[in-house]
């Protein structure tokens, strides 16, 4: 140990600092890309073996899941559409995880946001879209922030494990939403349990005409950038990270740990709530029982794969969107039964998260 220290000290100080910095950045980037790529490759290989063992063509897995989803422009926009909630949630969770708050409740926060956005979106006819769309999105973010904030409050005030409370709040939000769309908010004319349609002025504008892709993708990428700047360039973000690394040091430094934990929960909850608002105001235009196919849980994997860095969440959110599109496509086009597709998808997520853990493990010693 001491030997290496001396060696480093001897060379390091005099050596060209710029080369060092560049070298370090390249090494970091290489690791950041190589690990997920290896994870996906291994998972797909497992999937191919699984298919072959069950009498299907193993190559299908690559053909459909990777190449198939990029076959035309429309499928690419569908991938980006799925990336919107994944990037939003993943980037938000990076902030929570950096603060050592294990928010497992993004799914519930997404529903809380979707309900709030719907309530606003069906209530004010004739409002200017310039006002209405932002109002709906802000309402969604607020709903999610409050839902996350509840778990934060319980943690700060009563030391209740946020892992437990956020999971419980998921159930409340999901079942609460079911109750709303089958009861008080149900559209009486519809055969299905669903809310009334949002007023057209509240719809999030499309980014590309003729596709379902809306401007949410731009907002998601922009907010991920904002959260990166917040975490790594702002004083408040510094405090959030310090509290997450070492609460004793945070107290010593005069930081209010509870306030930072609340902030982390509200930010991650708000991002998930915003994702919910984009789903109802940008895609479905109504509130349904199963508005999310599990984006909130997948967002956890997105954040972990990103190494809890919001910039990385843009890439890993995109990757998970490709995988999700791929497995949907597989169900539609190939003869492979849905359970097998789900298994392959599960293997991919497991493998990706396991590889992420390899990278995070040594850092979390202190």
């Amino acid at each position: 140990m001491t030997m290496t220290q001396i060696e480093r000290d001897g060379r390091g100080a005099a050596a060209v600092p710029i080369l060092r910095l560049v070298g370090r950045a390249v090494a970091r980037a290489a690791v950041a890309v190589a690990l997920p790529a290896a994870a996906v490759a291994i998972a797909l290989a497992c999937g191919a073996v699984l298919l072959a063992l069950n009498g299907f063509d193993g190559a299908d897995v690559v053909n459909v899941m990777i190449l198939g989803v990029f076959q035309d422009f429309r499928s690419v926009t569908e991938i980006l559409l799925k990336a919107v909630p994944l990037i939003l949630i993943g980037a938000g969770l990076c902030v929570a995880f950096r603060c050592n708050m294990w928010n497992i409740g993004a799914e519930g926060q997404l529903y809380a946001g979707a309900v709030s956005a719907t309530l606003i979106g069906i209530s004010f006819e004739g409002l200017s879209p310039w006002l209405y769309v932002p109002a709906v999105l802000v309402a969604g973010a607020l709903g999610g922030a409050i839902w996350g904030g509840i778990a934060g409050f319980l943690k700060v005030r009563f030391q209740a494990s946020e892992i437990v409370t956020t999971i419980m709040l998921n159930y409340i939000a999901l079942i609460g939403t079911s109750w709303l769309v089958t009861g008080p908010m149900r559209d009486a004319r519809a055969a299905y349990p669903q809310s009334a349609r949002l007023f057209r002025e509240a719809w999030v504008p499309d980014l590309i005409a003729g596709t379902r892709l809306h401007i949410g993708i731009l907002v998601a990428v922009a907010l991920a950038l904002v959260l990166y700047v917040f975490l790594y360039r702002s004083s408040a973000g510094y405090a959030v990270r310090v509290v997450g690394i070492n609460p004793h040091a945070a107290r010593y430094a005069g930081m209010n740990a509870g306030r930072n934990m609340m902030a982390a929960m509200c930010i991650s909850g708000g991002m998930a709530g915003l994702a919910g608002a984009f789903e109802v105001a940008g895609v479905t235009h109504r509130l349904y029982q199963n508005i999310s196919p599990g984006y909130g849980f997948e967002g956890i994997a997105v954040a972990l794969l990103a190494g809890n860095n919001p910039l990385g969440a843009i890439l890993s959110g995109g990757l998970f969107a490709v995988l999700r599109s791929g497995s949907e496509l597989m169900q539609i086009t190939s003869q492979v039964p849905q359970v097998l597709v789900s298994i392959i998808q599960g293997i991919v997520i497991l493998s990706v998260v396991a590889f992420a853990a390899i990278r995070i493990w040594p850092r979390r010693r202190s």
């Binding site: 140990m1 390091g12 910095l21 310090v242 690394i245 107290r251 005069g254």
Partner: protein, 511 residues
């Protein structure tokens, strides 16, 4: 010394990197005696015993046990050689019963079923024989600390032992429980066992031992029959007279009172009284030392002054203004700097860079923050300045602090705190776990701060460090300040006696 000792540890050396923890220790223990190992914290007592029972392996040296060389690589082998150790921190699973704890890890790992009836019967038999009052079906977490300790001792007896090592067993006990433990030790010896008793409490050692070995600076400096010695001599041996560092310094010229503490009492995190009616003052231009065996309230004193531990009563003032009950942030803002006891726990953020560590308390203040954003260029320049002034060995300010040596990490903490231009500097364990070079540099720096008119309170268990730079030394014992001694090396012995709770030649009565 006998020709064929029961146990002989011969010239044992052990070091971790540059840090020597056992510097050629030689120790002889005779069969059927209570042999005390006496010494201050860090004198190498626990390390020596860890080597004896296979937790650490020595770099060199030989152990002869029962006439044969002993070479063990694990605690499990130690048990096979009938050597048992009761650690300072109990090794019990809190939610299991006594009997379940005893069978843990016993026999083949494939053997899942134990005859618990037999285990219970044997525990009852042993407990009765030594009067331990241990119930085999009691759940550990329901037991008091004293009871848990008896469970630990019985565990060693249960596994079969000829040599029992007790590592600071009385540190956690009440006086009554201590009496009971000392009786038990005598009973064990009567039963043919040999006991090694580690302690830094002079009175207990005098009461129970047959022979005493005093350790200092990772060596055994003296072994004696208890009849041939007295507490005064033992204290002198414990504290030592070696002068390691002689830093040139002018006599202090104390000015106005900067920190004043009156009637301070508080509890530790277990809710037990930790400080009782502490009063002290630190003046501009002086370094006041607080000596004491660790665990006598020094940690709590530092935390209470820094606003990190709520106090029961008392008043704290800085520069004449009341700071009692203020938050750490408010205290930090009043020209108060704090070099904490445990830098890994409190002082630094291991995964972050030096630059990010250099702004810990000032992350939201100019010049390091403007309009809520970190001013990275200024932070980098500031950190480079600290690195240069304190000669911190690092490739650059972006290096992760975890990659630096302990001495360089501590230099950054000291540099960061001094850069805040404080009037008062609270320092705990300034040089713990760092190399000699860094120690000297940091001590010199503290003297410069003193001469620049700053008030410094240095809390330390290292007497060498205290005598090297302090102007006067307060000695803490059982949460109180037992006395004040000028920091003159000729008064070393006096400090040692006060540390052991002896005031003016009398044994202080435990409250």
């Amino acid at each position: 010394m006998s020709e064929r000792p029961f146990l002989r540890m011969d010239n044992i050396h052990k070091s971790f990197g540059e840090i020597i923890v056992s510097a050629g220790v030689t120790l002889e223990v005779e069969e059927g005696e209570i042999h005390s190992l006496l010494g201050e914290n860090g004198a190498g007592k626990s390390v020596l015993m860890s080597i004896l029972c296979g937790i650490l392996s020595p770099n060199s040296g030989q152990i002869i046990y029962k006439g044969r060389p002993l070479n063990i690589g694990s605690p499990r082998e130690a048990i096979r050689h009938r050597i048992g150790m009761v650690h300072q921190h109990f090794m019990l699973v809190p939610n299991l019963t006594v009997a379940e704890n005893y069978v843990l890890g016993q026999g083949s790992p494939l053997r899942l079923i134990h005859d618990m009836e037999k285990v219970h019967a044997r525990i009852r038999e042993l407990s009765d024989r030594y009067g331990l009052g241990v119930r085999p079906d009691a759940v550990i977490e329901d037991l008091s600390v004293g009871e848990q300790q008896r469970v630990e001792i019985l565990k060693v007896l249960y596994h079969g032992t000829d040599l029992l090592i007790l590592d600071e067993p009385t540190a956690v006990l009440t006086p009554q429980e201590t009496d009971r433990l000392l009786d038990l030790m005598r009973g064990l010896v009567k039963d043919g066992k040999t006991v090694i008793f580690i302690s830094h409490k002079l009175d207990e050692v005098m009461r129970v031992s047959d022979r005493i070995s005093v350790m200092r600076d990772c060596r055994v400096v003296h072994t004696t029959r208890v009849a041939d010695t007295d507490p005064r001599e033992l204290a002198r041996l414990m504290v030592g007279r070696d002068v390691l560092m002689e830093l040139p310094r002018a006599p202090a010229d104390p000015g106005d009172v900067v920190l004043s503490v009156e009637g301070l009492s508080c509890r530790n995190d277990l809710g037990l009284p930790a400080l009782r009616d502490i009063g002290l003052q630190v003046r501009r231009g002086e370094i006041v030392g607080v000596a004491g065996v660790s665990g006598n309230g020094q940690t709590e004193l530092a935390l209470a002054i820094a606003g990190l531990l709520p106090i029961d009563s008392g008043r704290l003032a800085l520069n004449g203004r009341d700071i009692t009950g203020l938050s750490p942030a408010e205290i930090n803002a009043r020209a108060f700097a704090h070099i904490p006891e445990d830098r890994h726990k409190m002082g630094i953020l291991m995964p972050l860079s030096l630059a990010e560590n250099a702004i810990l308390e000032r992350y939201d203040q100019p010049p390091f923050a403007a309009r809520g954003m970190l001013q990275r260029r200024r932070i980098a320049a500031h950190t480079r300045d600290l690195i240069a002034r304190f000669r911190i060995k690092t490739p650059d300010e972006e290096e992760r602090i975890a990659n630096l040596s302990g001495g360089n990490q501590q230099k950054l903490v000291v540099a960061r705190e001094l850069a805040r231009d404080p009037d008062f500097i609270l320092v705990s364990q300034l040089t713990r776990g760092i190399d000699i070079g860094a120690i000297e540099f940091i001590l010199q720096e503290m003297l410069k701060q003193r001469d620049a008119g700053r008030a410094i309170l240095l809390i330390s268990t290292e007497l060498e460090e205290l005598f090297a730079i302090c102007d006067r030394i307060l000695v803490m014992f059982h949460g109180q300040i037992l006395g004040e001694v000028p920091a003159d090396r000729s008064r070393l012995e006096e400090v040692g006696l006060l540390m052991a709770g002896q005031k003016a030649g009398h044994v202080a009565q435990e409250a």
